[in-house]
């Protein structure tokens, strides 16, 4: 007689219905106040950690839940539906965690992964500089050897989570090329300057990170030197792009939910807003684009889970579609709500501002257009 082992219970991260309830209870009611205050509060960060949501894709042996990528996308969609700022913090923390998992030495993995998995240490991704955004090769931060140590100097800007992070994944030029370094926040010479009042994701704890002759031990280098710009940055940005794609679908869904509810109750003449054909057209487009965007990121996620290199371009396509759709529908959400949507603290305005950010980050819309077209022209199908 054989006894079938019971499947392990779904963690919150892998249970969409529970995730949705978690976001509805702990995120949605507070997102507007966080946006106005300019910060996701520490208690929410702790709550995410207690729920195991910071980096659940990490293997169980590293403190994660071994969550598959499709489920990770669902997690980021649900959190993004509630609050794009909170989702942004999950995005960058996930990028750092994944980088350590993929390229870390055994010592680095042991030092960082359990704490990153639990959210006891939070990570932030530091690539963008005042003079280098889309042009990664234009970064000017430097890393030089001094004995066996590394000495880093440079400034990164618009760093999501930078105000709060415990460790920065910091990209700098070495004589061999561009390399990635793990920089603990409390290292002497690290200066964190908050950036407040940005247009969107106002609560995402943005900061400028300034390194002035910061000395790091040899094991601060993550992954290879020189070839890193082709590996660590690209791989990490791919995960970030995937998260943003899912988060964009979350905004579309939030717009749909808000507009459908408002249209159900808002009186117009003898009827309701929902009776008007042009309003129905907007709702239809939100329904369609939410489903289409979801299918695109799920497709990219399945490819990623299979280790299929086609995931890279599938993620570009998913992010391109979903971020542009989110911006479009967030604008329509304000339109549907009329003057009410223009008021301070109304979610439609937050959706509108947060969605605009999605068209700039993890590859601007224009970079997506260039990259996807270049990929299409690689093939000989149209000659």
């Amino acid at each position: 007689m054989t006894v079938e082992a019971e499947a392990p219970p779904l963690t919150l991260a892998g249970d969409r219905a529970r995730l949705r309830a978690f976001v509805d209870e702990h995120v949605v009611p507070h997102a507007d106040s966080w946006d106005l205050a300019g910060a996701v509060p520490e208690e929410m960060l702790d709550r995410l950690g207690a729920a195991g949501l910071w980096a659940p894709f990490l293997p169980v042996e590293d403190g994660g839940a071994g969550l598959d990528m499709v489920s990770l996308g669902a997690l980021h969609e649900e959190v993004g539906r509630g609050c794009s700022s909170t989702r942004s913090l999950l995005t960058v923390h996930g990028m750092v965690s994944w980088a350590v998992h993929r390229w870390g030495s055994p010592g680095q993995r042991e030092q960082w992964l359990p704490a990153l998995a639990r959210g006891e240490q939070l990570g932030a991704f530091c690539l963008t500089e005042p003079g280098a955004g889309s042009d990664i090769q234009g970064i000017t931060s430097t890393a030089r050897r001094r004995g066996g140590d590394w000495v880093l100097t440079g400034t990164k800007k618009w760093i999501t989570g930078g105000q709060r992070a415990d460790v920065y994944l910091f990209f700098a030029r070495t004589p061999a090329g561009i390399a990635a370094f793990l920089v603990p926040r409390r290292t002497p010479g690290v200066q964190v300057v908050p950036i407040d009042g940005v247009l969107g994701t106002r609560a995402s704890l943005l900061a400028e990170i300034r390194l002035d002759e910061v000395v790091l031990a040899p094991d601060a280098l993550l992954g290879p030197d020189g070839f890193a710009s082709g590996m660590v940055a690209t791989g990490v940005l791919d995960l970030g792009r995937y998260s943003v794609a899912a988060g964009s679908v979350g905004i579309i869904q939030a717009c749909l939910d808000a507009c459908a509810e408002y249209a159900q109750h808002r009186k117009v003449g003898a009827g309701r807003l929902r009776d008007l054909q042009l309003i129905r057209a907007k709702i239809t487009d939100m329904v369609t684009d939410a489903q289409a965007g979801r299918l695109l990121y799920e497709h990219a996620g399945r490819l990623r889970d299979a280790g299929d290199e086609a995931t890279l371009m599938a993620t570009f396509v998913a992010k391109y579609f979903a971020s542009r759709a989110a911006a479009r529908h967030a604008s329509e959400a304000v339109q549907v709500h009329g003057a009410i949507g223009l008021g301070p603290g109304h979610p439609a305005g937050r959706f509108y501002r947060d969605a605009k950010v999605l068209e700039l980050i993890e590859g601007s819309t224009e970079i997506q257009q260039l990259t996807i077209a270049e990929h299409a022209f690689r093939k000989d199908e149209w000659t």
Partner: protein, 97 residues
């Protein structure tokens, strides 16, 4: 003389040299390019960071291996032959039925 039978249950890695598969992957993505196994693909001008990542993922999936971080050096990816040697160093042993 014994016949050689291709068993679909045996991974392709046991049958084909890595160089052939890698060469095919590159030329399928860039059909206008002709390369030899020893040519430096970076000097041909079409390799960007995105394609480098695709190469790594393709090699790891196709040959069922994880490339150690220490081996993520340009010299190991500069040519079809270099990548083939990388695979041969890290390919897991294949057991025949």
């Amino acid at each position: 003389m014994s016949d050689i039978t291709i068993d679909p249950a045996v991974p392709a890695t046991a049958i084909e040299a890595p160089a052939g598969r890698i060469h095919e992957f590159i030329t399928s993505r860039y059909p206008m390019v002709q390369i030899t196994d020893d040519q430096d693909i970076f000097e041909l001008g079409f390799i960007n960071s995105l394609f480098a990542m695709e190469l790594v993922m393709f090699i790891e999936k196709t040959f069922d291996l994880v490339i150690p971080t220490a081996e993520l050096q340009r010299s190991n990816f500069s040519s079809v032959r270099a990548m083939s040697r990388l695979v041969e160093r890290h390919q897991p042993p294949v057991t025949q039925p």
